[in-house]
């Protein structure tokens, strides 16, 4: 055996020859870009909120907008509606989601995997599509409504109330509660439950005295999350609230700027600021809950497979209950929506064979602006999703794997979009493009949509990347550094390859997010940069229900393909 330094030529260099790629410019550049991206929509809203004239005019600073907003006719009713809507939606989502998490995740329910899959569908399709689906089947002239009316002779229910709105929002948000509940249940030590059983507690008692209390932190955490999300939803209040005049913050904003004859920018910006402040408060509360219970509710903890509760004699009755919910709340509405796309007219009395048509799809294909909205959506999802993934991955790495001085502040800024609803981000970017001279060419292009979507998606993408990044031992990149690799090379050669599954998952998540996003686009799109969501809204307001259904069908199909592809090709589960 030879000894290293006595054989062969003398060591050439002890220190690598390659000049290090400058880590400082990369890190500062990235941080600067993040600040610009987050500030772009926020700064104009802040300015506008305190300005007495539209931003394009020379205004002066004022607090008058707050008073003006408060004295708006119906403002306080709207504020009350918003709170009520949020509380009701959260309550419904939590009851349904938690129950499903326990029944699907913890018992021997038949077909529980399939039921769990369908339960999550509202997350994949946007709340916009779920709203249309519910309106198509349970709305005043909906298929099921008509059927019941024919049978009983009276209108059985009215979804166009705050209760109906809350119900649909609750169902669309129940998957969030489901995911958090399941994660909490999966990381709970099953011996707690076994101990209760051995101590003599029955199944139900164990459930209520041990399982549910252990899920409490997760429940509280997801409650705040769901409440926040309900404040941001535009589609459901728009579809179910507007016809009967029930307004919430999001529809108020939408109408003040989007549809009013003379948009009152000052008041709209003020309302947006109020909403942001409320959400910031809720997030602060959420962080306190998180800090006081466990560092991460969803991550960490050993993933034990607890023994499922045996339902015994209740197995099939409970199955019927759960399957009934999944079918009535998710499966049938989406099915009827798709069906509506293939008919001219949908009514219980009209035989299907007489009304079948492909006309709706033909219109989509023939009108350039309709077809374009599909291509634009795909382009934004594909290209924008990829760019955003690169950007967010870099942020996560600089925050967690560099000696960057401002790593902490960078993380705070990067997570700030959590507090900015998509609708408001859209308004903000709309102002920014109008205000900043050099940005005019961006207006009415898909690029401004891509930028806005990226800004809004930083926290979501970060959530997909960071857990895995934190699991990669720091000594792996330290080893590369000691051996002579620059920071950038250690990142590209060691961290990025190990992070690949998380990067793929992040891309899949952002692809779907961007593909279904509509609220951010509402104020930003222009002829030429339509996306599916904005075209859907346009069809809906014009009353083209067939086109709505057909375009929804296209979106649902493409999302289903994408989810299936992500799952089979990359093994990525996008949610849960």
């Amino acid at each position: 055996m030879t000894v290293l330094e006595t054989s062969g030529p003398p060591p050439a260099r002890t220190v690598p020859a390659s000049p290090p790629v400058g880590e400082v410019p990369i890190q500062y550049g990235l941080a600067g870009l993040t600040v610009i991206l987050v500030a772009a929509p926020l700064a104009p809203i802040l300015l506008q909120g305190f300005s007495d004239k539209p931003l394009y005019d020379e205004g002066s600073l004022t607090f008058a907008n707050f008073g003006k907003m408060a004295s708006y006719p119906g403002f306080w009713q709207m504020a009350l509606n918003t709170v009520l809507f949020g509380i009701l939606a959260t309550a419904i989502a939590q009851v349904v989601g938690t129950l499903a998490a326990i029944l699907i995740g913890r018992t021997d329910l038949p077909l529980r995997r399939l039921l769990g899959e369908v339960f999550l569908w509202p997350l994949y399709v946007s709340s916009l599509i779920l709203a249309f689906a519910w309106a198509t089947i349970y709305g005043p002239s909906g298929y099921a409504t008509q059927m019941v009316t024919l049978a009983t002779g009276g209108q059985p229910w009215d979804l166009y109330t705050i209760w109906g709105m809350s119900l649909v929002a609750g169902i669309s948000l129940a998957p969030v509660s489901f995911i958090y509940g399941q994660a909490a249940a999966a990381t709970t030590d099953p011996t707690f439950e076994e101990a209760a059983r051995i101590a003599g507690a029955g199944r139900l008692r164990t459930l209520f005295l041990v399982t549910l209390p252990l899920m409490k932190p997760a429940l509280f955490f997801s409650s705040i999350l769901i409440f926040t999300a309900s404040l941001e939803i535009l589609s459901i209040p728009l579809v179910f609230g507007t016809p009967s005049g029930v307004k919430v913050f999001s529809t108020f904003l939408y109408e003040r700027i989007g549809n009013a004859a003379i948009p009152d920018y000052g008041v709209a910006a003020t309302a947006a600021l109020v909403l942001i402040c409320v959400i910031v408060g809720l997030i602060a509360l959420q962080n306190r809950v998180l800090g006081s219970t466990r560092k991460y509710v969803t991550i960490g903890g050993k993933s034990v497979r607890p023994r499922p509760f045996a339902l015994g004699a209740f197995r099939w009755p409970v199955f019927i209950l759960v399957a009934g919910y999944v079918l009535l709340a998710v499966g049938l509405p989406l099915g009827v929506l798709v069906l509506r796309g293939f008919v001219t007219f949908l009514h219980p009395m009209a035989p299907l064979a007489d009304v079948l048509t492909l006309q709706n799809f033909r219109v989509l294909a023939e009108f350039p602006s309709y077809a374009r909205s599909i291509w634009n959506s795909l382009f934004i999802a594909g290209v924008g999703g990829a760019l955003a993934t690169v950007f967010i991955t870099c942020i996560a790495i600089v925050v967690h794997r560099s000696e960057f001085r401002f790593a902490r502040p960078l993380l705070y800024i990067a997570l700030m979009p959590r507090a900015i609803p998509g609708l408001i981000a859209g308004i903000g970017f709309f102002y920014a493009v109008a205000m900043i001279p050099g940005l005019a060419p961006l207006r009415s292009t898909v690029w401004i949509l891509m930028i806005a979507f990226t800004m809004a998606a930083i926290p979501v993408g970060y959530g997909a990347i960071a857990p895995m990044l934190l699991k990669i031992g720091p000594e792996l990149d330290q080893a590369a550094r000691v051996q002579g690799a620059s920071w950038w090379r250690a990142v590209t050669r060691v961290i990025l390859p190990l992070l690949r599954p998380a990067i793929v998952a992040c891309f899949a998540l952002l692809f779907i997010n961007f593909f279904k996003e509509y609220s951010t686009a509402v104020f930003l799109y222009a002829p030429g940069s339509e996306v599916i969501g904005t075209t859907l809204l346009q069809f809906w307001t014009q009353g083209h229900l067939g086109y709505v259904a057909a375009l929804s069908t296209v979106q649902i199909t493409l999302i289903a393909c994408c989810v299936a592809l992500a799952r089979t090709a990359f093994g990525v589960k996008i949610y849960g």
């Binding site: 055996m1 220190v15 390659s18 330290q478 080893a479 590369a480 620059s486 390859p497 190990l498």
Partner: protein
């Protein structure tokens, strides 16, 4: 190959000082161990040498190159230092084969492909892992991973080799074998090496010199023999091996120093002991300096047996000698509740005052 000079190194984490005024001169080719309990600052020092952590004050040099100089605000990033570091967890890149792991540092140095192959084969042969070049780290056992980690470090001829508890993740049997193997490798390579460990056996058997550290400070620097035989404090004596402490009052002068125990018995102290008559003093004894056979020269003392336990082939007895707790191993179970122990003349290390409360070092059997 170079000498390593550390001057007045300080590392603070907020208000906490992890390393206080650490100075050390490691000669070219010397094998130096940093030994101490967890939190003593040994890993902090290693990280400062490797450049993974920026110290607060002081200076680190290799030969004429400044790695760090607090006064002049010089700090070389780790990649510019040319150190070799073997991590406790080995840090083999899981997405690369053994060969690719070894290629990485070579390609950074723009070494020709043929030369790369030759060096990799040589390094793997050196650690007897030549047959495993195409494997992935997860396909190797812990001991094999440890060897690959070493090969990956040696393959680019670092100026200085840093080993961070490289044996601590191995099981006891494998650790003994790896230690012997590491000693052979050390003799072959003769590289300037810093070896961080909390295991006194590793430090004693491998090192040219040992730096015993305690709470961010150097407790003692010396050859293994010096450290073992003349520890300068009760902490060092306790940390370096199973030691019995006898505390009493020093008596006599010059060549007739004695230690008077609380129960009136007296022990002759080595003449080198620097104690003042009438003041408390502590005698630290190695297991081989406290004998259960009453025959032979030395001081005979009577101790009370407080408990006995069978530890496999031998008996371990706990004794009380003038209020001092001692432990002794015997071939047979002791009969009766008292035993005569013998301390050969002039052995043991003597400290003034009583030993500081030290964390007990758990150790199976005698060294």
């Amino acid at each position: 190959m170079a000498e390593l000079i550390i001057e007045h190194l300080v590392k603070r984490f907020g208000a906490f000082t992890a390393l206080k005024d650490f100075s050390l001169h490691v000669r070219d080719g010397e094998f130096v161990s940093f030994l101490g309990p967890s939190g003593c600052g040994k890993s902090t020092t290693l990280a400062a040498i490797a450049g993974l952590d920026r110290p607060s004050e002081g200076r680190i040099r290799i030969g004429s190159r400044d790695f760090y100089d607090g006064a002049r605000n010089v700090f070389l990033p780790p990649e510019a230092r040319g150190c070799g570091l073997v991590f406790q967890s080995y840090a083999l890149w899981p997405h690369m084969t053994v060969e690719a792991n070894l290629t990485f540092p070579l390609s950074l140095r723009r070494i020709r492909k043929t030369e790369q192959r030759r060096r990799i084969a040589e390094a793997l042969d050196l650690v007897e892992m030549g047959a495993y070049a195409k494997r992935y780290p997860h396909e190797l056992s812990g001991g094999q991973q440890q060897r690959v980690a070493l090969a990956r470090t040696l393959v680019y001829n670092p100026e200085i080799l840093l080993l961070d508890e490289p044996l601590s993740n191995l099981d006891a049997k494998l650790r003994d074998r790896a230690r012997i193997w590491l000693a052979e490798l050390r003799d072959k390579l003769r590289m300037t090496t810093i070896y961080v460990t909390h295991d006194q056996v590793e430090a004693l058997s491998l090192s040219d010199r040992i730096v015993v550290m305690d709470r961010g400070e150097i407790a003692q620097v010396g050859t293994p023999q010096e450290i073992y035989e003349s520890p300068n404090s009760a902490f060092v004596a306790d940390f370096i091996g199973t030691t019995s402490f006898l505390t009493g009052i020093a008596e006599g002068q010059g060549t007739s120093l004695r230690l008077g125990l609380a129960d009136g018995q007296k022990i002759g102290l080595p003449t080198t002991a620097r104690v003042v008559a009438g003041e408390p003093a502590t005698l630290a004894l190695r297991p081989n300096q406290l004998l259960s056979d009453a025959e032979g020269p030395g001081t005979r003392l009577t101790a009370r047996v407080t408990s006995q336990a069978y530890v496999g082939g031998r008996w371990q007895a706990s004794l009380d000698l003038g209020g001092n707790h001692l432990r002794i191993e015997t071939e047979q179970r002791l009969e009766g509740d008292a035993i005569v122990v013998r301390i050969p003349d002039g052995v043991g290390a003597v400290f003034r005052a009583s030993p500081a409360p030290v964390t007990p070092v758990l150790q199976a059997g005698t060294v």
